[in-house]
């Protein structure tokens, strides 16, 4: 190295402090790791005072969106702590509910408060823990009162958020079985052997097309 000894004046004028501040700013911005004062001094022209430049710079960034912080012996720019929320990016992912989940949800909505055993009886299959947990996570189902029966089982009820999502004032607004049938949602296929129950007679077989129309219209 042929650098002039540090005391030798005049060969290279030391940059003014404002310029040194700019240099420190650029180095700290572009460097991947925090930088020590010694590293700064090594990278800056002869005669610079990085410590003083850092002090100026720190004041300059006081209250800004990024701050000059000390990391051990080194210095780095970091996002102001109160703005951390901006560093999160939410991606919304629409997902269809599984058949098990929507059936369990329907049973809870129509029969609330309802116990797990009752849900299983209606669905005819065991309800996995995960299904109810998932509905609770979604905020659509919560625990109700314990049933005053042997074992004091917990019950499940639907939440405000459920009503909000499905556009219902209350769970009582859920269409009844009769409404479902009228809307063609109860698919009344004739029983095998041409046997028809009395209540089937009232229903015309065009139920399918109603269902289709309703599906297209969406819920009112």
């Amino acid at each position: 190295m042929t650098r002039p000894p540090p005391q030798e004046p005049g060969l290279f004028a030391t940059p003014p402090m404002a310029e040194q501040e700019r240099m420190v700013e650029a180095i700290l911005f572009a460097t991947a790791e925090p930088v020590t004062v010694a590293d700064l001094a090594a990278r800056m022209p002869q005669g610079c005072d990085p410590a003083e430049a850092l002090a100026h710079l720190r004041r300059r960034y006081d209250g800004r969106g990024v701050q000059l912080v000390r990391v051990g012996e080194a210095w780095a720019f970091r996002t102001a702590p109160d703005l951390g929320f901006l560093m999160q990016k939410e991606t919304v992912e629409p997902r269809r509910l599984s058949r098990a989940a929507i059936e369990t949800l329907a049973i809870i909505a129509y029969h609330q408060p309802v116990t797990r055993a009752e849900i299983e009886e209606i669905r005819g299959v065991a309800v996995s823990r995960g299904t109810v947990d998932q509905l609770i996570d979604l905020g659509w189902v919560r625990f109700g009162r314990r049933r005053m029966s042997p074992g004091r089982p917990v019950t499940f009820v639907v939440t405000e958020s459920f009503l909000d999502h499905f556009g219902l004032e209350s769970a009582r607004d859920l269409p009844g079985l009769k409404d479902l049938r009228a809307a063609g949602l109860l698919d009344n296929r004739p029983l095998p052997g041409g046997f028809t129950r009395p209540e089937d007679a009232e229903d015309a077989p065009e139920g399918q097309s109603d269902l289709f129309d309703l599906a297209r219209e969406g819920p009112p």
């Binding site: 949800l105 979604l138 999502h165």
Partner: protein, 264 residues
């Protein structure tokens, strides 16, 4: 380069001239096509590209090509195509214009060639200026320690009221439509009743109501009561037919009574 290029190619080439030509030839691999070569040749005219003598340039180019041939250097086809076109242009430029001829004049063609050269030169200059700019990663730097944006995946469930209703409807109608099968839970068969009665009728030495013979637990549930009553009635009819019991009913809808038939 010297002004020797200004000479007409018909003149015997001076040494410098020949050396220059050879230098060009040796460098032929370095040319990016005939237009590039023409541009290099035009520089030897030391004039603004707009005032370059196209006739002279054509002659320089043709001299270059014949020189290359003399030195047995293979030239790519497009160099030869350009040579042919320049030979045509040269002849047009040297002949007086034919007033009868339609189409572009030799001057127009020459102007176009000059335009092409100027345009290529302009692009080269632009490229050089572009490359000399303050470049990212060399003069300007991006953030060295980007703070990762935390991605939060939020799932929005897709479920409409209709989905909910359909799911419920599906559940409620499942029971109605299960395949037909005889529900045997509430059925007491005649054979079962016959077996039971055989063991019990010994006690009926005097008239007893048939109702009293119904099995425990079959009297409360209507379906079970009906089934058990019918089975036991059929059983005692069978026993009466065989002559093992006697039946009587004091009036219509009165309880049916049985009595074991004693040996005669």
């Amino acid at each position: 380069m010297t002004d020797d290029w200004d000479r007409t190619p018909t003149a015997p080439p001076a040494t410098a001239d020949r050396l220059a030509a050879e230098a060009l030839i040796v460098d032929v691999e370095g040319y990016e096509g005939p237009l590039d070569l023409l541009l290099t040749l035009s520089r030897t005219q030391k004039v603004d590209l707009r005032r370059v003598s196209v006739l002279q340039l054509a002659e320089q180019y043709l001299a270059f090509v014949s020189q290359a041939r003399a030195l047995r250097i293979e030239l790519a086809a497009d160099y030869l195509v350009m040579a042919a076109w320049l030979a045509y242009l040269k002849s047009r430029l040297l002949l007086p214009p034919d007033p009868a001829e339609d189409g572009p004049s030799a001057a127009d063609l020459a102007a176009h060639l000059a335009f092409q050269l100027e345009r290529l030169q302009a692009m080269r200059d632009a490229a050089a200026r572009l490359m000399a700019r303050d470049r990212l990663g060399r003069d300007r730097f991006p953030r060295g320690a980007p703070e990762d944006v935390m991605r939060i995946r939020k799932v929005t469930p897709l479920a409409s009221l209709l989905d909910l209703m359909q799911a419920y409807a599906r559940l409620r109608t499942r029971d109605d439509f299960r395949p037909y099968a005889l529900d045997r839970d509430h059925v007491f068969t005649m054979e079962q009743a016959l077996d039971r009665m055989r063991g019990l009728i010994g006690a009926a030495v005097s008239w007893v109501d048939l109702q009293g013979f119904l099995p425990a637990g079959w009297g409360s549930h209507p379906m079970r009561r009906r089934s058990a009553t019918a089975a036991h009635f059929a059983a005692v009819l069978e026993l009466a037919r065989r002559g093992e019991v006697e039946l009587r009913q004091t009036e219509t809808f009165a309880p049916l009574q049985i009595r074991v038939r004693g040996p005669r």
